[in-house]
């Protein structure tokens, strides 16, 4: 079986596992225990990991808080900032294509009395900067826009958004889970105030992530989790040393391999798209062709039923929509936001290409995809009608 669903579910890098081994075996001390050597070793490892994460994004290690993953980081950032400043500021701006956890956090804030503007996106998946500027209100406390979208791979104009927010003294949060370690990120150049990081998206362990919280100018958050005051009081709870060490190692490896990986993934992505599009007509790539991360490709196959195609390609493990929405039968809200027709949204497939993807896997996937799209189209009466030159939108479907 070949696993191309690499956007959400990626294998851990062996170098990451290696870095974690000592902390899963001999060095099991609690990093917060101040009174013995076991604790000191773990603490040193945890602080080293913190520095590795910070180095990847151009931050200071004191600005990195370890969390259980990007979902927690997103929750902390959005709810934390909103609630801290709620006496004077009650408005938040985000986009319609954010990850479920961001949208859901905003929704829950709305029940607490906050107002949220969900910016629409253009057909290419990018936000309109003019609309962003127009959306600001005198009591806006936070803008949250993800760097790279997990479903269609588009890259938002983060530098521009950062400038706009900085000029208006509004905090800028970005969910960088899909971007970290894959494209260069610098919190100072990009004027980012809060950033969510996920361990398992960069070939690190599952169950760990981080939140970058700017110190100058200071961003204040109301902590989500109360307790012993770990992580500067922002996130109580014992930091899982092996997982933190793994995250740190993943960040360091990602920094070293970024150029090599990017070049290779770009090559493989172009191979996949070119091959499919040259063999099969009526394929739409969702999202801007240029402003994207190459490793996340979303294609819609017109006149093909999505679930059937997915079942046919089941040994290649792709996904229609994203993991967090794959349980429901609704077409992805991201595709709906970019204006994809209902039927095209249902027949969309997401291909994820990563560090460990081989050329063989790409070729196999392409071959199977072409084979099944052709087969399903042969069976499709809609396809037959299109071939005959009938405009599908002109058909009056009768009720039986």
């Amino acid at each position: 079986p070949s696993f191309l669903r690499l956007v959400v579910c990626v294998p851990q890098d062996p170098r990451v596992l290696d870095s974690m081994l000592p902390y899963l075996t001999a060095y099991y001390g609690n990093p917060h225990s101040r009174t013995h050597a076991y604790g000191w070793e773990s603490e040193a490892a945890m602080e080293n990991a913190r520095r590795q994460v910070a180095d990847l994004i151009g931050a200071d290690s004191r600005e990195i808080i370890f969390t259980s993953g990007a979902t927690e980081s997103n929750n902390m950032a959005i709810k934390g900032v909103a609630r801290f400043y709620k006496s004077r500021k009650k408005h938040i701006i985000t986009t319609q294509t954010e990850h479920k956890c961001v949208l859901d956090s905003c929704r829950s804030l709305e029940t607490e009395g906050f107002r949220v503007t969900y910016l629409p996106v253009k057909k290419n998946g990018l936000i309109d900067l003019k609309e962003l500027e127009a959306a600001f209100q005198p009591d806006t406390s936070l803008v949250s826009v993800m760097t790279v979208n997990n479903e269609i791979g588009v890259k938002q104009p983060i530098c521009d958004i950062g400038e706009i927010c900085r000029a208006r003294k509004v905090f800028f949060h970005t969910d960088a889970a899909q971007a970290i370690g894959k494209i260069p990120m610098d919190v100072n150049n990009m004027k980012i105030d809060l950033m969510s990081i996920s361990g398992h998206k960069i070939y690190g362990p599952k169950g760990v992530g981080a939140l970058y919280v700017r110190r100058r100018p200071r961003v204040r958050l109301e902590p989500l989790q109360s307790g012993g005051g770990q992580e500067r009081g922002l996130r109580s709870g014992t930091v899982p040393t092996p997982l933190a060490v793994g995250l740190g190692a993943a960040c360091e490896v990602a920094q070293q391999e970024m150029e090599y990986d990017h070049k290779r993934i770009l090559q493989l992505a172009e191979r996949l798209v070119t091959k499919i599009m040259s063999e099969v007509p009526d394929v739409v790539m969702n999202g801007d062709r240029e402003h994207r991360y190459p490793g996340c490709i979303n294609l819609s196959f017109a006149y093909v039923e999505g679930e059937s195609l997915l079942m046919a390609l089941k040994d290649v493990a792709l996904s229609s929509g994203s993991a967090c929405t794959s349980a429901s039968l609704e077409p992805s809200y991201v595709l709906r936001a970019i204006g994809t027709d209902e039927d095209l949204a249902h027949s969309s497939i997401r291909f994820g290409i990563g560090r460990f993807t081989t050329e063989e896997e790409v070729d196999y996937t392409v071959q199977k995809c072409i084979q099944h799209v052709k087969r399903l189209r042969e069976m499709s009466p809609l396809w037959e009608m299109v071939q005959d030159g009938i405009d599908l939108k002109s058909i009056k479907w009768t009720q039986h």
Partner: protein
């Protein structure tokens, strides 16, 4: 001096590739072999002895990483 380092480098290269073949996971195996080959090829013309030593140490460390997991 040069001759013995060349032999040393080749020995390390072969050891890394041999060890990588033992990964049972298809993706790890293919990645390791590909990455090792590309890295050695890329650094083929490095002349500075200090840099060469640094690269060889990195290679040795990676050999041990692989060895622990195969």
């Amino acid at each position: 001096m040069a001759a013995s380092s060349r032999a040393q480098v080749l020995r390390l290269y072969r050891a890394l590739l041999r060890e990588s073949q033992r990964f049972s996971a298809y993706n790890y195996r293919t990645y390791a072999i590909r990455r090792i080959r590309d890295a050695f090829r890329e650094n083929k013309n490095v002349a500075d002895p200090a840099k060469i030593e640094e690269l060889l140490n990195k290679a040795k460390a990676n050999l041990e990483v692989i060895h622990r997991q195969v």
